[in-house]
């Protein structure tokens, strides 16, 4: 697989202010005893 260039984040200037929030219909489902699949496995 193709190697991705390391971005070295500290070397890149970051915005003075960062704030991100997204929303969707809440479907929160399970507990950490099982990894919930984000999508149904295709049969």
């Amino acid at each position: 697989m193709k190697k991705i260039a390391d971005t070295k984040p500290a070397a890149q200037p970051r915005p003075d202010l960062i704030a991100i929030r997204k929303t969707c219909d809440a479907e929160g489902t399970g507990l950490s005893h099982y990894v919930l699949m984000d999508k149904q496995v295709k049969r």
């Binding site: 697989m1 193709k2 190697k3 991705i4 260039a5 390391d6 971005t7 984040p9 500290a10 890149q12 970051r14 915005p15 003075d16 202010l17 960062i18 704030a19 991100i20 929030r21 997204k22 929303t23 969707c24 219909d25 809440a26 479907e27 929160g28 489902t29 399970g30 507990l31 950490s32 005893h33 099982y34 990894v35 919930l36 699949m37 984000d38 149904q40 496995v41 295709k42 049969r43």
Partner: protein, 464 residues
């Protein structure tokens, strides 16, 4: 860390709704409005003016009502969409930290096939009453070891494949070729449990009844080989004193075997046996964060991700609170409100963690409507546990990124529902790390591709 999350940093304004949180970043500090889980990351020298006014506060005030409604719906408005279904009390392993009492695992009963099918029918009828069109409820066969009752489980999957999304969490000892063929053929999610990259480490905690040195490692490796290329499987590793030194090696091991996702879970300390191998918070956090960095390095080197799902869930809780999948890290937790657990005798519990604690049985699937059980005092004790009522959490700025897990261990280990759980400092460091990744613009590397499909931005400042 120079400043605790729950303590405002110097320069904070008593009138600002935003609480500064030192996340240990070189250039940025977090500011959080705790009740709505609204946050920003601001250059440290601009903190005072950010708290006084400007774009971030304007954005907050313009959207605050919507953010509150969003959190209220997430915290109090959900109905169950999943069941952790224990088809047997028995297990062929005797893992150190198991939350199911040894007596049940050793001498317990199976749910017979007819009863299991009856249970699925009752669950189907319950979920049909409130699940939206086109969305299937999830049934996760869990344990104890569910494949000890394989015939009944597989019959249930066959009969109800069009009415539930099924998953199985297994120790892999019985996951032979035919079982894999059946589960993969039906598109079933498969979770494996493995605690180390070698039998010497893995079998310290996950061992059979004969004792240490006779565990499940070899079985899990064969299962991983059988499942290679199947996108619907994953591995759960429980972090204990027995494997912390090997966690970094563990994620490299899983990545090398192309495991698509894993979880690195803390030991839930509900039962005393688990507390014996409980790692100290900072030791767990050190090993965990180092392992996360290793997954990132491997992604950069290979272009292939090993998503650590429990950490991804924390990141998502910060970036898009309603998009989270796992409901341990929100308050009230999902126990008894977005999922519940079914024991082989039909008794219902808010969460698998409570199976083995009879006082937390809210009723029985075969004798009462599920809705009545959800409203029982036992369930209300869990579903009513709010972080605002937990001493020390009620003033913490990051309380809705952590949720003060877990009610079972708070109750059993620390003396009540209004106590903290076992890993406060670990969760705090995890949240700080997640915010540092966002400050560095690295967070997408830790999330599965397409994680935000179906989401809509409500705030996007400097993070595009």
């Amino acid at each position: 860390m120079s400043v605790a999350a729950r303590t405002p940093v110097e320069g904070g304004s008593a009138r600002s709704p935003l609480s500064p949180v030192d996340i240990g970043h070189a250039t940025h500090v977090a500011v959080v409005e705790p009740d709505t889980a609204f946050w920003g990351l601001v250059r440290k020298d601009l903190l005072a003016e950010t708290l006084a006014g400007g774009q971030l506060l304007d954005t907050f005030h313009a959207n605050a009502d919507g953010f509150r409604q969003e959190m209220d719906l997430l915290r109090f408005g959900l109905k169950p969409s999943a069941v952790y279904f224990n088809p047997t009390e028995r297990c062929n392993l005797n893992c150190t930290y198991c939350y199911i009492p040894e007596r049940m695992r050793h001498d317990g009963k199976h749910m017979d096939r007819a009863t299991l099918l009856d249970a699925l029918d009752r669950l189907h009828r319950y979920f049909r009453g409130h699940m939206p069109e086109g969305r299937l409820p999830q049934v996760i066969f869990h344990g104890a070891e569910p494949l000890l009752n394989r015939d009944a489980v597989f019959a249930g999957i066959e009969a109800y494949a069009d009415r539930f999304r099924f998953g199985v969490q297994t120790n892999a000892t019985l996951l032979d070729d035919s079982a894999v063929k059946f589960l993969v053929g039906h598109g079933i999610g498969i979770g494996l449990s493995l605690d180390g990259p070698s039998p010497e480490v893995a079998d310290r905690t996950r061992r059979n009844w004969a004792g240490a040195g006779a565990g499940a490692y070899d079985h899990v490796i064969r299962a991983i080989e059988r499942l290679d290329g199947y996108p619907g499987y994953n591995v759960i590793c429980t972090m204990t004193t027995e494997n912390l030194a090997h966690l970094d090696e563990m994620v490299a091991f899983l990545h090398a075997r192309r495991v698509p996702a894993c979880m690195l879970n803390v030991t839930r300390c509900t039962l005393p046996g688990a507390r014996v191998v409980r790692g100290e918070d900072d030791a767990v956090a050190d090993a965990y964060l180092a392992a996360l960095e290793t997954t990132h390095r491997l992604y950069r080197e290979t272009g292939r991700k090993l998503v650590v799902a429990n950490f991804a869930n924390i990141l998502i809780a910060i970036l898009a609170p309603t998009a989270r999948r796992l409901m341990c890290d929100i308050s009230p937790c999902g126990g008894g409100r977005s999922f519940f657990a079914l024991a082989p005798d039909g008794d219902l519990y808010p969460c698998s963690e409570f199976i083995g604690l009879p006082a937390f049985s809210g009723g029985n699937l075969f004798r009462q409507p599920v809705a009545e059980v959800l409203d029982s005092p036992a369930f209300r004790l869990v579903s009513g546990r709010k972080v605002e009522d937990v001493e020390g959490c009620n003033t913490c700025a990051i309380r809705h990124f952590c949720g003060s897990p877990c009610p079972a261990e708070a109750h059993e280990m620390n003396g009540g529902m209004n106590q903290k759980g076992a890993f406060c400092r670990f969760y705090e460091r995890q949240v700080h790390y997640a915010l540092r990744l966002i400050a560095d613009g690295r967070h997408d590397d830790f999330l599965w591709d397409g994680w935000d499909e179906g989401t809509v931005p409500t705030c996007m400042i400097g993070g595009a």
